[in-house]
């Protein structure tokens, strides 16, 4: 049995977990142009973009020998909930003999979740399982912590590309961690790495902070979102994004009583704009916008996959919201043919607006 999973942002977490539980693994490659082409070719035309990109990722991993796919389901009336099934059907039709393990939220379907879990932990003792989870959870937290530092520093880096390189280095360090003792050591090394990135001085008044919100796959996966975080950094903006893996893990896996649940809070903040959960991340998107406003960010970029229904709903609410809370928001739809230069024009103009808005505030 060789397991694989979708590529979204940073694969190290899933990779570590599955490895620690003693399975063989085929780590998915970062989606490339070829991946996307492959996915588009084998997906229904009107499926949304993440389904296509993930389709391509699966095919590539199966070609490299994987035969079990572990993935998460969806909740609410968004098509993503069916993607496990659809992917499976298509792959079977293509002649791949592949098993799917689809995790739905533990809070909604405890039995199903545990059944899947048993498949994953077959060979391990309970203690080992507990230890593995704890270690991976800590790694996730650490990596997210460092990523946030990088997202801040990148705006001011003196040597272009150095921050992204540092992050890669840190991730590959964490990739080797086997136990808690090592974890401490690596955290120190990583602190040292980020502390030593030279940055230029910018006055507090002139700093620009942008939040990226929207559907989780396009927000997390830089290979399909035009590397938007790096683009924004090159225009001098600090970046935060609405989804980090540790938040997701906390919300979906950690039992309610043990967690300080940011996601619950975010959902509440979205409530005045969308009352019910309509699936996907529509409600979170709006909640995050409110949250970022409260935190004093200067603008929001909203990413949605072309054909994503929940985000289409949030997109239609955004203009009113932007007026009401006085927050500049730019929506960008992404698909396999996203025109790069057009989107760059948009992003540049958007940052211009924020800059002049800030300047005026300082003057008056």
């Amino acid at each position: 049995m060789k397991m694989t999973f979708p590529h979204m942002g940073n694969p190290i977490i899933y990779k570590k977990l599955i490895e620690l539980l003693g399975h063989e693994i085929v780590c998915p490659n970062k989606p490339t142009k070829k991946t996307i082409e492959l996915g588009v070719k084998h997906s229904p035309e009107f499926a949304c973009f993440p389904m296509k990109a993930i389709m391509g990722t699966y095919i590539e991993s199966l070609e490299r020998g994987a035969d079990v796919i572990v993935t998460s389901g969806g909740h609410g009336p968004c098509r993503a909930g069916f993607y496990g099934e659809v992917h499976k059907k298509i792959l079977n039709n293509m002649g791949y003999d592949v098993e799917f393990i689809v995790f739905d939220s533990i809070h909604k379907d405890f039995k199903g979740f545990m059944k899947n879990m048993m498949k994953l932990v077959k060979h391990s003792s309970l203690l080992k399982v507990y230890k593995s989870f704890r270690l991976v959870y800590k790694i996730t937290k650490d990596i997210d912590y460092f990523e946030k530092i990088i997202q801040t520093k990148r705006a001011y880096e003196i040597n272009k590309g150095e921050c992204s390189k540092a992050l890669q280095e840190i991730i590959s360090l964490y990739d080797k961690v086997q136990d808690h003792k090592e974890l401490e050591k690596i955290k120190k090394t990583s602190e040292y790495i980020v502390d030593n990135i030279p940055i230029k001085y910018v006055e507090e008044d002139h700093k620009i902070r942008i939040g990226i919100v929207g559907e989780i796959y396009v927000v997390m996966e830089s290979s399909v979102n035009m590397k938007i975080e790096e683009v924004l950094a090159s225009l001098g903006c600090e970046v935060r994004r609405s989804h980090y893996l540790s938040d997701w893990a906390e919300h979906n896996i950690v039992p309610k009583i043990f967690r300080h649940d940011r996601e619950e809070e975010i959902l509440k903040k979205g409530e005045p704009y969308i009352e019910v959960q309509i699936g996907g991340h529509a409600k979170e998107t709006l909640g995050h916008i409110v949250d970022y406003k409260e935190k004093g960010l200067d603008g929001i970029i909203h990413l949605l996959p072309f054909g994503c229904l929940p985000e289409l709903v949030s997109q239609s609410i955004i203009p009113r919201m932007s007026r009401e809370i006085d927050m500049p928001i730019l929506s960008i739809a992404l698909d396999e043919q996203s025109g790069l230069s057009n989107n760059l024009t948009r992003i540049e103009a958007f940052v211009d607006i924020i800059k002049t808005k800030k300047k005026r505030k300082i003057v008056s």
Partner: protein, 320 residues
């Protein structure tokens, strides 16, 4: 010698070049097709400019905008490289200080820009749907056998209202054919097309936004009175078309370049008219570094590489 500032707006289909003086008066302007060859067409425009200025003017600042702004900026030694939104709005405010909404419709794309107190507050861009751009009209004009320049006059002669489905060029076309068969005149149809374009443009780009006068209408399509009339009817307000409506991007970035030079007191980076004789050789190659197989563009001068872009990973771009 008098000082002038140069602005170049280079898109995939056209190139605009203007030279302005200190008071933003246009000394020279040129509009031509770029035929997908930005380097060659810029050189041509530059040589024309050189003839025209005839040694009486000195170029003290250069700005570029449009989708080819990076490349042309590098070639000319631009002081300012700006996006189209900011450039267009800057030019508009030169004519209508208190403008609140700008309609910018070109051949291939269209924009809507919102302003307040002389600052851009919001904008929208259309890039995928042809039904809200000039090419929609071009195409239908050809069908009807009416030169696009005469569209406006024809539209004004319409005496019956005919509503043409304007959501999408495909539907518009079949609707137009059936309306023709119903016996509507060419004039009525043309007027209907203008209205369809305006409706489509407003609902596509203005969705959820508040449109406020004064309205300014610019871009190549603003030459067409039929569209201007349709806008005024739809909005119930006057729509202003500025004098140099078709070179606003170039004008705007020229103004920005001038301001930049004044504010920073720097000397321009302009490479001089000799650039027109330098051979900028762009080539492309497929990188085999990974399965992205990016098409990387490389520009060389005298066998020396001066710029590269198009790579996803930054391996080539960052080598500068």
């Amino acid at each position: 010698m008098k000082k002038v500032y140069l602005g170049v707006d280079i898109g995939s289909v056209s190139i605009n070049l203007v030279a302005i003086d200190y008071n933003n008066e246009i000394i020279f302007k040129e509009y031509s097709r770029s035929n997908g060859q930005p380097l060659i067409s810029t050189k041509k425009a530059l040589l024309n400019l050189k003839d025209k200025l005839d040694g009486n003017y000195e170029i003290c600042g250069v700005g570029t905008t449009g989708s080819g702004r990076q490349l042309i900026g590098m070639m000319l030694g631009a002081d300012v490289v700006k996006n189209e939104i900011t450039a267009h709005a800057t030019a508009t405010m030169n004519y209508v200080k208190d403008a609140r909404t700008i309609f910018e419709i070109g051949g291939q794309d269209s924009k809507m820009i919102f302003l307040k107190d002389g600052f851009i507050t919001d904008f929208a861009m259309n890039t995928v749907c042809a039904a809200g751009t000039g090419s929609f009209l071009d195409h239908q004009a050809e069908r009807l056998g009416v030169p696009i320049e005469e569209f406006g006059d024809h539209a004004r002669k319409a005496n019956r209202n005919v509503r043409i489905a304007g959501r999408c060029t495909v539907f518009a076309e079949s609707d137009m054919i059936s309306k023709q068969q119903f016996g509507f005149s060419k004039e009525d149809i043309i007027n209907g097309l203008c209205e369809a374009l305006v409706r489509n443009y407003l609902s596509n780009l203005g969705r959820g936004k508040k449109l406020e006068p004064p309205y300014v209408f610019q871009g190549g399509v603003a030459a067409n009175n039929g569209i201007k009339d349709a806008f005024e009817r739809e909005l119930g307000a006057k729509v202003f078309v500025p004098e140099n409506f078709h070179v606003m991007g170039a004008l705007g970035v020229a103004i920005l370049a001038k301001e930049f030079i004044y504010e920073t007191k720097r000397k321009t980076n302009f490479r001089g008219f000799e650039t027109a004789n330098i051979d900028f050789v762009p080539t492309t190659f497929e990188c085999s570094g990974c399965s992205n197989v990016c098409e990387v563009i490389k520009v060389e001068v005298n066998k020396e590489v001066v710029a590269m872009w198009g790579d996803k990973c930054g391996k080539w771009t960052n080598s500068f």
